[in-house]
């Protein structure tokens, strides 16, 4: 676990009139990690992000950024890409990037220089002097991410960073995010693309109805929801293996789901299989659910009041 904390959120709550958007939420984000913020629409993610950024004030609780209350100086160390985003449509791309860079404390010359560097990297140099309205949605998306990174922040908060991007540009942005993490930066990423969370994020918090539904390392959270089963592929009669209660075809896969009897560990089943000459094993893994399934399960539980 990284030693320093980028964000420390403690028991924050926020209400709009009678509606409690965030309710006693607590979590931490560390430097050098990608932290996924998940939750259904209207769960309170945007309100939480706005409170972290000091756009909104929490009714109760406290938020620390880099170990202290947020100040104007702290804001210059943060990059923010909101979900609903845009730039001045009638202004040249380079000009609007330079302006936003100066608002982040860069000198005009430095902001312009860095903007050109990012435009080059994001393959947008040919559009530097074109109006924002001349750019496709994907191009605007990249320009906005460039604005987020322009001032070399230590923490970035990005909401749905991959929406509107083709696979090639998605890969490019993933590389940029991983690079940022490798340099020790903290990334808070809000997304509904669960597969991206699975392979990009280190830890997550899932918010449902304003409260914390899940929190921890991605693998640990998935393991928590693991079935008492293993998935196998190969040849053999799986029902004859000691400790197997029943079998099922893997949903959407080629394997077979082997449900274990109560008290039987997967290691024990694997050892049994290894001793059987009539069994040829090509794949053996824990039946860990996809994050998507966990998400749906948690949301459904929330709706049912479980």
């Amino acid at each position: 676990m990284p030693s320093t904390t980028a964000i420390k959120v403690e028991h924050i709550s926020k209400s709009y009139g009678n509606f409690r958007a965030v309710d006693d939420l607590t979590f931490e984000v560390y430097n050098g990690e990608i932290f996924a913020m998940l939750g259904p629409n209207g769960a309170g993610k945007s309100t939480t992000i706005r409170m972290i950024l000091d756009i909104l004030k929490p009714d109760t609780g406290s938020i620390e950024i880099f170990g202290a209350r947020i100040t104007d100086a702290t804001k210059n160390r943060i990059g923010y890409l909101p979900e609903e985003r845009g730039l001045y449509r009638g202004v040249p791309v380079l000009e609007v990037m330079t302006y936003l860079g100066t608002l982040k404390g860069l000198s005009r010359a430095d902001a312009r220089k860095r903007s050109l560097t990012y435009l080059e990297r994001f393959d947008l140099m040919a559009f530097a002097k074109k109006k924002v309205s001349d750019l496709s949605k994907g191009m605007q998306q990249k320009a906005q991410l460039a604005v987020t990174l322009l001032h070399d922040p230590e923490l970035i908060i990005i909401d749905e960073p991959f929406s509107g991007l083709d696979p090639v540009n998605t890969l490019l942005i993933e590389e940029v995010i991983k690079e940022f993490r490798a340099k020790g930066g903290a990334i808070v990423m809000s997304t509904h693309q669960m597969y991206q969370v699975e392979y990009l994020a280190d830890r997550l918090v899932m918010i449902n109805k304003g409260t914390q539904a899940l929190y921890g390392k991605v693998d640990e959270v998935r393991s928590r929801y693991a079935l008492p089963a293993v998935i196998v592929e190969g040849k053999g009669d799986w029902t004859t293996i000691p400790g197997i209660e029943r079998t099922e075809k893997e949903d959407g896969g080629r394997g077979t789901l082997l449900f274990l009897k109560h008290g039987v560990e997967p290691d024990h089943v694997l050892a049994q299989m290894a001793q059987r000459p009539d069994v040829q094993l090509q794949r053996f893994e824990l039946a860990v659910p996809r994050l998507n399934d966990i998400f749906i399960e948690v949301v459904e539980q929330g709706r049912n009041g479980a």
């Binding site: 950024l53 756009i55 104007d72 210059n76 202004v91 100066t102 608002l103 982040k104 404390g105």
Partner: protein, 425 residues
């Protein structure tokens, strides 16, 4: 404060480059200046033909005859024009019937019928086959008549016969009636010009303010901006930038007026007056430069007042369709003085005029109009500025209460019943 300065500089640059601003601020005065000079030159040419040279008359006829037709007939029942030299292409007819037949045969396009009692009445009928707007002019015939009547007369006296007087006006006091109608018209023109200048500048700059604010909401750029800049710093930067541009526009326009009157206000305006009566009033204008500082105070206060109200509207509007609709609430009262501008010129102390110049929403245009045409009691100016200043404080306070992240980021327009809660915070 650093953010406010950054926003100020950017908005100043961005809005200065707007084609609409550049054209209105610099293009309109330049066009007006050019138009005045071109019209003046044309008018000078038009009114200086008093030559007795038939060739000059012929040339003049071809170039400036309002009928633009060389095929003109002349029926002189008075006998006065019997020996007058007319252009070669003109035809004389003895009777009206002969001339009518010539028109019917398309030999001539029109003819002048000089009545038998012309010397007593000056009556001349222009007969045309059908309605022709341009046939209403008679400058060719008039020139011929002047040339004829001034034969043998001293050239200077002849010139005075043609131009008995070239008027200019020295306005001893702004309220003095030197020449009843002309002075009144000139006063109205100056009132109108100042009121229009103030109104255009106020609504153009505040319109841009609203446009930039709502654009940031529409594109959702506002969320990025308020994550970096405090909403009030953002607003203050914009208000200051557009205020400076408004001030620049006022200075350019008033400077343009001064230039126009000083350079084109003399003989050129007199020339225009000969040809286009209303514009000739420029010759009579005297700009009240001593009240310019008070006008600037009114501009600044009224700009801040409307900026405050427009910011409130922008904060609760989500599109450029909604904003101007709400702005009408403030715009209509502000424009009300325009309906009574003639009253400002004729009776600047009328109770309605006094009320309009004290009521904050109507005061900027009303007091501006009054100040340029009459002396306004000091207590009225002080009360008007005081009330306006209080309204500015209220408008800015209101803007500060409403222009907050929570309202800016809201996806929908608040209902009327929600407004008090928003103001309370």
């Amino acid at each position: 404060m650093a953010h406010m300065l950054t926003v100020f500089l950017y908005e100043l640059k961005r809005n200065f480059r707007r084609p609409g601003f550049l054209f209105t601020t610099f293009g309109v005065p330049v066009l007006l200046f050019l138009a005045t000079n071109v019209i003046g030159d044309l008018a000078a040419q038009n009114t200086s033909i008093n030559s007795t040279d038939p060739e000059a008359i012929q040339e003049f006829t071809e170039q400036f005859d309002p009928t633009m037709s060389p095929n003109v007939g002349l029926v002189d029942l008075s006998g006065v024009f019997g020996e007058v030299t007319v252009p070669d292409t003109w035809q004389r007819f003895d009777t009206d019937e002969e001339a009518r037949a010539a028109i019917a045969a398309e030999v001539i396009d029109l003819y002048y019928l000089i009545e038998a009692d012309y010397l007593e009445t000056g009556d001349v009928i222009t007969v045309v086959p059908e309605f022709q707007m341009n046939a209403m002019g008679d400058s060719t015939l008039s020139s011929i008549a002047r040339q004829y009547f001034s034969q043998g007369v001293d050239p200077d006296i002849a010139a005075r016969i043609v131009y008995p007087a070239i008027y200019s006006e020295e306005n001893l006091t702004l309220t003095a009636t030197v020449d009843g109608k002309v002075n009144e018209d000139a006063t109205f023109l100056i009132v109108y010009a100042f009121a229009l200048t103030l109104m255009v500048t106020l609504f153009m700059t505040n319109g841009y303010l609203m446009q930039t604010l709502i654009e940031e909401k529409e594109t959702r750029l506002v969320e990025i901006l308020v994550s970096m800049v405090r909403p009030l710093h953002l607003l203050a930067g914009k208000i200051l930038a557009l205020g400076v541009l408004g001030l620049l526009q006022i200075v350019v326009w008033i400077g343009g007026m001064i230039l126009l009157v000083n350079i084109a206000g003399g003989q050129q305006a007199q020339n225009i007056g000969e040809a286009v009566g209303a514009l000739g009033l420029l010759a009579n204008l005297q700009l009240p430069l001593d009240i310019l500082p008070i006008l600037l105070v009114y501009f600044l206060l009224s700009y801040l007042m409307f900026a405050g109200f427009y910011s409130v509207i922008s904060a609760i509007s989500n599109s450029m369709r909604e904003g101007p609709q709400y702005a009408v609430v403030f715009m209509l009262p502000a424009l009300a003085p325009f309906y009574f501008l003639s009253l400002f010129a004729t009776t600047p102390d009328a109770p309605l005029v006094v009320f309009l110049s004290l009521f904050p929403l109507t005061a900027p245009i009303s007091m501006t109009a009054r100040l340029v045409v009459s002396e306004v009691p000091f207590w009225q100016i002080a009360l008007s500025i005081g009330l306006l200043a209080l309204t500015v404080v209220f408008a800015i306070w209101l803007a500060a209460r409403v222009f907050r992240a929570g309202v800016l980021l809201a996806g929908n327009v608040p209902k009327l019943k929600d407004i008090p809660a928003i103001i309370r915070g």
